[in-house]
Symmetry: C2
Subunit: 168 residues, 2 copies
DNA sequence: CTTGGAGTGTCAACAAGGCTGACATATCTT
DNA sequence: AAGATATGTCAGCCTTGTTGACACTCCAAG
């Protein structure tokens, strides 16, 4: 676009032009495809989908989490989640334990087989992430995380922060 | 993890720990939700989905693109794309023109109504991206883009670069 | 102790948007 | 004339999201 009147906006804010923003949008789109590609391949071999991956990931991250907690992290309906959980439980990857304090709640944990699949999936995903991190360098990685965190919804940032604190 | 023997890896490579990578993975997951949330709201009001958004976005970016080109950018089957394109054409948002050189090809362009929807969608998405960029600052944004680009598949990077060059 | 509400599971039905396979049509290339 | 290419379309399947309805268990407040 043309020169803006205020001098301070002339150089400093060029990274906020529509053009730059559009590049960022497209980068998110293409990168997310790469981000999910490797786990997707592993999953489809076993007859699972991305929804199973998400459930396994967050059960691993928060062992003995309740169904409700998982629901609010994943942002889907309980019917959707239940369908996925049922197959994981039937297949012996996840164990559902009745709560001790509150017996209405179910606490979800990975079985050994579930943990093995989790490892395979996150190894694949981390390999790509590691390659990208290494290629970009630590300064870029810090910026990457900053922008992503600023892009989240409030609720999602809450969940993200809660997970971050767990094993820091 | 414990101290690694080599001194050079002690400090410099801490950003490559599994912990850091996992945080990056979760940041991508939560941020992508935010990234698509605003357009999704606009679309569902009109009875469209994310697939329509993607088609509209890339037709806008590459006016008069062919169906085949769009297919390779989006990475879906022609049946999937065709279902979406058919509704967009029926609803008068996209126009399909027989190619001049090669009459087998169809060149896709947005109508005025299609361009209006594209504007609404990308305004919403850019608003969030702009807020995130502004909050994180130009250095972070450069890193953000670097990491995303390193995360793409080869094919996707090719398409991304091609689009980048268009109006640079 | 009863009752209301919360947490959970489940059934049924539906839609979007992926996929495969098969086939038709028009057009270009050889 | 034959084969390859670009596109469209029909039919059917899968995953994963949705709503709505209903049952059950359990906790807590009255």
């Amino acid at each position: 676009m043309a020169e803006t009147p205020a001098a301070q906006t002339g150089q400093a804010l060029l990274f906020l032009t529509d053009e730059q923003l559009r590049k960022g949008i497209e980068a998110m789109f293409f990168a997310y495809r790469g981000f999910t590609a490797d786990p997707d391949r592993i999953l489809s071999d076993k007859g699972y989908g991305r929804a199973h991956h998400r459930a396994i990931h967050f059960i691993h991250r928060s062992p003995a989490t309740t169904v409700n907690n998982l629901l609010s992290i994943l942002g889907v309906t309980k019917q959707s989640l239940n369908r996925v959980l049922r197959t994981l439980i039937e297949d012996g990857l996840v164990q559902s334990r009745v709560g001790r304090e509150d017996k209405r709640e179910r606490h979800l944990v990975l079985t050994e087989a579930g943990a093995a699949l989790e490892r395979a999936l996150s190894d694949a995903q981390r390999d790509r992430m590691r390659a990208a991190y290494r290629a970009a360098g630590p300064v870029a990685v810090a910026g990457f995380r900053q922008v992503l965190e600023a892009m989240m919804d409030q609720d999602m940032r809450r969940h993200y922060e809660a997970l971050k604190d767990r094993s820091a």
